[in-house]
Amino acid sequence: MDPLNYLYLSAVLFAIGAAGVLLRRNAIVVFMCIELMLNASNLAFVTFARTTGTLDGQVAAFFVMVVAAAEVVVGLAIIVTIFRTRRSASVDDASLLKF
């Protein structure tokens, strides 16, 4: 298949993720959207590894996975803590800090 299609897919995924972060209000959903963006990047990396004929992109994908996992651990820790304190995971409820 044309590698360009994978790039389009990754761009679309990335855009969906970014839009989700900006539009959704639930912290967990926002967080999942961020993970989606990371995975879109991974797809781009792997595709580019194919098109450029180098392995760097595949290696990068591995590292991104690790980082994404670490991010999940940290992120969920924070969200869970807040959830336990406030019984809500909405970003809007977290509004003590106002401009």
Partner: protein
């Protein structure tokens, strides 16, 4: 083309599963009874639950996180194992270091009771 076999198998399995779900809904009787569609709690009056069941022990979160860490470790181990012979002693040393580092976190979690259930 390379993936045709699993696509085919997946399609068959999916067709079967969907058929089963639909058939199950159509073939059986449908006699409404309020108690039947309530949550089943061994006959006790069910406690109303939100979808998602409200709150549950943080412990599961810890397990999930630990799993992710080890799963990632495995992700790194597989390619290493497959190409082990090519990597030689350097590969061994690197993986030993990697495992040692994971074990540090592992030891921390263990000592802090992260692996204990009661």
């Amino acid at each position: 083309m390379e993936y045709l076999p699993i696509v085919a198998l997946g399609a068959i399995a999916l067709g079967f599963a969907v058929f089963s779900v639909v058939a199950g809904a159509l073939s059986g009787p449908a006699r409404y009874n309020r108690a039947k569609v309530d949550a089943y709690e061994c006959g006790i009056e069910p406690t109303p639950q939100p979808v998602g069941g409200g709150r549950f022990p943080v412990k599961y979160y810890l397990t999930a996180m630990t799993f992710i860490i080890f799963d990632i470790e495995i992700v790194f181990m597989y390619p290493w194992a497959v190409h082990f012979d090519a990597l030689g002693l350097a590969g061994l040393a690197a993986m030993a270091l990697f495992i040692a580092l994971i074990c540090v976190a592992y030891a921390y979690e263990w000592r802090r009771g992260g692996l204990d259930w009661d």
